[in-house]
Symmetry: C2
Subunit: 308 residues, 2 copies
């Protein structure tokens, strides 16, 4: 199998954590509804391929995300106490109740960096959004459950346009203050570019939030995801969200491309000699299998090139 | 039309030259044969969109590249003395004869960085390749014609694997010594990653060849093209080859992705506040039109997102 020549950059981190979002963020944004058995095998294969953390599903109401209506059944089939954390998304306290009943040990909440998206997605203001998350985070932590906070629309917003960096920092820090252990800074519509990424990370650091609290979540809507990941590595980011095969469309733009593809990220990390623990061959096989299930060409360039 | 927020990086160049290769490298690697009228309009639209240089066609023998068999007719229809240079590829002295007869003012030659590809593509050794190009460059320059030299397989080679950086520098410098005015360093099979790109540029500089002599030519086979372009900007590269819509497959890998898409590069440059002179809307319209001619989805993420 073709692989890149390794040329290290001593200024970059020696190792990174790939936070796999394919089963949740990927499948949530695919039009097909995947059977429970396939979802179970998908998560198991991702864990077997070496992904150190795999977001498994979402306890959002099935009315909004019918693709993940089987969240409780899926969680019941998966090793929630295993060595590899399998977080689930919870939208609110009702979702948290269901997640805790199911034995979930790691949750993620989904916040907005902008007023417009808070209104559109949660029908609330930014302040109300944070007030709504306060008991979710508190109760989760009281139950010994770890909480990750997605911050969406960190670079641009379909309604507001460019999003001020300071606003993202402010929302992010309020989520950490509530008790979140990590922020996933999302370029939900894919409009960000490399210097913007670096500026956002630096502004968090200037406000006292180091890179150990930050993950980056890029979408490839305008082809920028991997260039942005490289830029993020350069400012010390060591956790990257990615989706096997590039699963998942872009919910707020007319585009065939969604999440940064895990395989394309792995290729870059391999070339840079950065450790990640993922077996690229197994991952490509998994994405080829999933693309057949979905009857759809994989979005990942690496999967298209190596999976033929 | 959605556009990125501009965040400048003062360490990057203030302006770059996009060397458009769609009509030659793009169409040469598409299976469809495009009518002469469409090719003419394609070049004209690219010039109208602000591309500062457009490689128009190739005087390679039609037996090898039937897609560009109408090179002389195309050149006859185009303003070869206009403000925008329209280089053509010439493979050898016979190609040069035809190009000079047609009134071409700028040519490009296509060299290999590796013995294996020199053998495969030219049926020659590296030394013989350079001996073959010597009279091509000398006669072109004597006629007042500028010569660009492509160096292919600069990062990896399907037969040799990883290509030593020093070998690329050596071949490149010999081409400059012959009289080439610019090297286009090609990642023909798309295996390179960011630090490898920077290492190659630095090694050229250490050997006395500054970035003003270098252009980068990336392929997106493994999704790395734009990350590599960002890495190249960071070491001072100011000329980038790109193909409108991402036209052109990858000749030596099973992949749907070919050249770096001009639109995706323009998006990144716009976000970084780097001048390039190209009107993105006109370019997207041109690529949408060409994708309809070819009856094929554009490879460019930006064209898919904005051109719908």
């Amino acid at each position: 199998m073709t692989r890149p020549m390794v040329v290290r950059d001593p200024a970059l981190p020696a190792a990174v954590t790939i936070y796999e979002v394919g089963p949740r963020d990927g499948l949530q944004n695919e039009s097909a509804i995947v059977p429970l058995e396939v979802k179970t095998e998908f998560v198991e294969r991702l864990v077997a391929a070496g992904l150190p953390i795999v977001e498994a599903t979402s306890f959002v109401h099935p009315k909004w995300v019918p693709q993940l209506a089987d969240a409780a059944e899926l969680v019941a089939r998966l090793p929630m106490d295993g060595a590899v954390p399998l977080p689930v998304l919870v939208p609110n306290e009702r979702g948290l109740d269901r997640a805790l009943e199911s034995g979930v040990r790691h949750i993620a909440i989904f916040a907005s960096a902008t007023e417009a998206f808070a209104l559109k997605n949660l029908n609330s203001t930014l302040d109300d959004q944070l007030a709504m998350f306060e008991p979710v985070v508190a109760r989760a932590r009281a139950a010994g459950v770890d909480v990750r906070a997605y911050v969406s629309m960190c670079f641009g917003d379909p309604w507001e346009g460019a999003v001020p960096v300071d606003q993202v920092v402010s929302v992010g820090r309020r989520l950490l203050d509530l008790g979140a252990s990590q922020l996933s800074l999302g370029d939900t519509i894919g409009v960000g570019t490399a210097a913007h990424v670096q500026e956002l990370v630096r502004r968090f650091e200037a406000a006292g939030t180091g890179t150990e609290w930050l993950a980056m979540h890029f979408h490839d809507t305008y082809g920028q995801a991997l260039a942005n990941a490289h830029a993020a590595l350069q400012v010390g980011i060591t956790t990257f969200d990615a989706s096997a095969g590039g699963l998942g469309g872009c919910p707020y733009a007319e585009s065939a491309t969604g999440n940064l593809a895990t395989e394309d990220l792995v290729w870059m990390l391999d070339g840079l000699g950065i450790e990640h623990g993922v077996d690229l061959s197994s991952l490509v096989e998994t994405s080829v299998w999933m693309s057949r299930v979905l009857q759809k060409e994989p979005a990942s360039a690496v999967v298209r090139a190596l999976g033929a």
